[in-house]
């Protein structure tokens, strides 16, 4: 492999700096004793202490993470099967119709999705709370998974499947041994973007939540009128650090065992 040129490194560094700049800004002010994101008065850890005293906020944080993980997981499964199904359609027009329908939720503004889901849930009689929020998040994350998996499926060489068939592989085997491993990058991409959708969503969650269940986004938006408290900065800072540690840690643990694991994948 060639080494990256200096200008390439500069370019990448620039992209990363821009992506992380706002987060560092937030974390920086989470140490501000002044109480706002404006003037930095002096260093303090009080906002971090406040996080651990505020049980309500901790519960909300955990709710947010659980909904994000579960909805991303389930929508990934749904989306992968959906994409495989779409590709199996021979009728091009049918395919295009399904794909257009798939994208309706991506294009619809959150308020519309939220309001119509709310009407839907109360019509069916689903109790507003954890499950209604989870279902809503699954629902609006499915399309992004489909869009991430589809190109991988399309570029997949059909002769791979034919070869497997000729070698006597069952349908199940073809799915688990040929298709899924091949589209794996698309699956992970879909999963991570579904996580992003779920963590970022405010409007839909707002409409379909109830009975005391809340997520971080809903909480942060409703604070806007009186000013977002730095406790939220602190909690975001903590989440950020933990995420980075988990991701980097997991990556290196997996990679150390790579030689052994990869062959069975």
């Amino acid at each position: 492999m060639k080494k990256l040129s200096l200008s390439a490194k500069f370019y990448l560094a620039f992209v990363f700096i821009v992506l992380y700049a706002p987060i560092f800004y937030l974390v920086f002010y989470s140490f501000n004793s002044g109480g706002t994101m404006n003037k930095f008065d002096s260093f303090t850890l009080e906002h971090y202490a406040a996080v651990f005293e505020d049980k309500r906020l901790l519960v909300i944080l955990i709710n947010t993470v659980v909904v994000a993980l579960l909805s991303a997981l389930i929508s990934t499964i749904l989306g992968v099967f959906g994409a495989i199904g779409i590709v199996s359609l021979r009728n091009m027009r049918m395919r295009n119709i399904l794909l257009s329908l798939n994208n309706v939720l991506i294009v619809s503004p959150d308020v519309i999705i939220g309001a119509s889901f709310l009407i839907l849930f109360t019509m069916i009689g689903i109790k507003l709370g954890f499950f209604s929020v989870l279902i809503a998040h699954i629902a609006f994350s499915v399309p992004i998974v489909v869009l991430m998996v589809l190109p991988k499926l399309l570029e997949m060489n059909t002769s791979l499947i034919d070869a497997a068939q000729d070698l006597g592989a069952s349908k199940r085997d073809i799915l688990t041994r040929v298709i899924l491993p091949y589209i794996q990058p698309g699956i992970f991409a879909g999963f991570f973007l579904a996580l992003t959708y779920s963590l970022d969503d405010f409007a839909v969650t707002f409409f379909v939540t109830g009975n005391g269940f809340s997520t971080l986004s809903v909480e942060i938006y409703s604070m806007a009128r009186a000013g977002v408290s730095l406790t939220v900065n602190a909690i975001s800072g903590l989440v950020f650090v933990v995420t980075i540690l988990v991701v980097v840690g997991y990556y290196f643990v997996v990679n150390r065992n790579k030689g052994k694991v990869d062959k069975s994948a």
Binding site: I62, A115, T176, A224, G227, S229
Partner: protein, 357 residues
């Protein structure tokens, strides 16, 4: 494939573990089914210590949910699904809620502390005899400005906003009635007008304001004014108080031609399953000590006369936030305009926004 299965299992295990943790964290308040009171309020709009005190005093467990706009809150309550016992909407929404029969009448015999409220704030046109609502906080619409930067302007008149010297210096709020309102006030018309020729005049007047507008924004005005991003902003008194608290260079004025008088009121929606507890809560918040403590925490103007006696004199005598009687005469409360005219105001506002370049 193995990687996919591993990841799936890991996610499920982590999620279950986290869910279990919330159960542990919730254990203190886990008396479900017993005496529960669900409150629906703006974020950071109550002193959390008061909620704890109320829980201790009455044994009622409080569930606290928040919203970010009146209209979104209205949609939620209308659709049902959650048994909200208490909500804190602004006054123009109360009229709408009454129209749609969404509120439970209050039992005044259970609210002895109602006597603490200044009679000026009682029996207002949007809710005669306070049958359905009790004032929680109140305020005005006015102009927050930085005297060091705007020189001779004191904003005792709305017309100051139109001065060419303020080119691209003014923040407006992203709310049709407030912005159309400054033109109406400046022309001497009612804030609740549905007279098309008056509105046309107001639109022409607004068009002249466009060059002075720097941005049309929402709650973030607070942060921006504290940062001195602009020298003038149209805002609500409660937020102005926040800004001045953070940035002492700022000042607030309510122009003399008149302005809006607004309220956030406590109501009991029809969704309530604990009407008894809701009354207890309202009465608790009406107590002089709790109202004073709450006003101190939130920083908005309280209608509670008895509480004023307990508060910092400097705050209570600040005529910017507790305007004297003469000025109160010029203030006007919004009435519900009906969907047609809400539409007219908003279309007009949209045209105005699209003309800002």
């Amino acid at each position: 494939m193995k990687k996919l299965i591993q990841a799936t299992v890991a996610i499920v295990i982590i999620s279950l573990a986290l869910l279990y943790t919330t159960k542990l964290l919730n254990i203190s308040g886990g008396k479900t089914g017993k005496d529960i009171l669900t409150i629906y309020n703006w974020g950071e709009y109550i002193d959390p210590a008061l909620l704890k005190e109320f829980e201790k005093e009455t044994g009622i467990h409080v569930i606290y949910e928040t919203f970010d706009t009146n209209e979104a809150m209205l949609t939620k309550i209308k659709q049902g699904g959650t048994a909200y016992d208490i909500a804190v909407p602004s006054e123009y929404i109360i009229e709408k809620m009454l129209e749609e029969d969404m509120l439970i009448p209050l039992d005044h015999t259970k609210l002895p502390n109602l006597k603490n409220i200044d009679s000026y704030f009682l029996d207002l046109p949007f809710d005669p005899h306070n049958k359905y609502s009790i004032p929680y906080f109140w305020g005005t619409v006015g102009i927050v400005f930085n005297p060091d930067k705007v020189g001779e302007f004191d904003f005792h008149s709305w017309q100051d906003l139109w001065d060419p010297a303020l080119r691209r210096q003014v923040f407006l709020v992203d709310s049709a009635r407030e912005v159309v309102g400054i033109a109406l006030n400046n022309l001497g018309y009612s804030l609740n007008t549905t007279d098309d020729s008056e509105l046309a005049e107001a639109e022409a007047k607004l068009a002249e304001l466009a060059p002075n507008v720097k941005a049309v924004i929402g709650d973030e005005t607070t942060q921006l004014m504290v940062n001195n991003e602009a020298s003038v902003a149209l805002t609500w008194s409660g937020q102005a108080a926040d800004m001045i608290f953070e940035n002492e260079a700022l000042d607030y004025a309510v122009p003399h031609e008149g302005s809006n008088l607004w309220f956030d009121n406590i109501v009991i929606p029809k969704t309530s399953k604990n009407v008894e507890g809701a009354h207890k809560f309202i009465n608790f918040m009406l107590e002089a000590d709790s109202a004073a403590e709450n006003a101190d925490y939130v920083g908005y103007s309280t209608p509670n006369k008895a509480a004023l006696a307990l508060m910092d004199e400097e705050v209570v005598n600040d005529e910017r936030f507790y305007p004297p009687i003469e000025q109160r005469e010029t203030l006007e409360v919004y009435r519900d305009l009906g969907l047609d005219y809400i539409g007219v105001y908003n279309e007009m506002f949209l045209r105005f926004k699209m003309s800002i370049r």
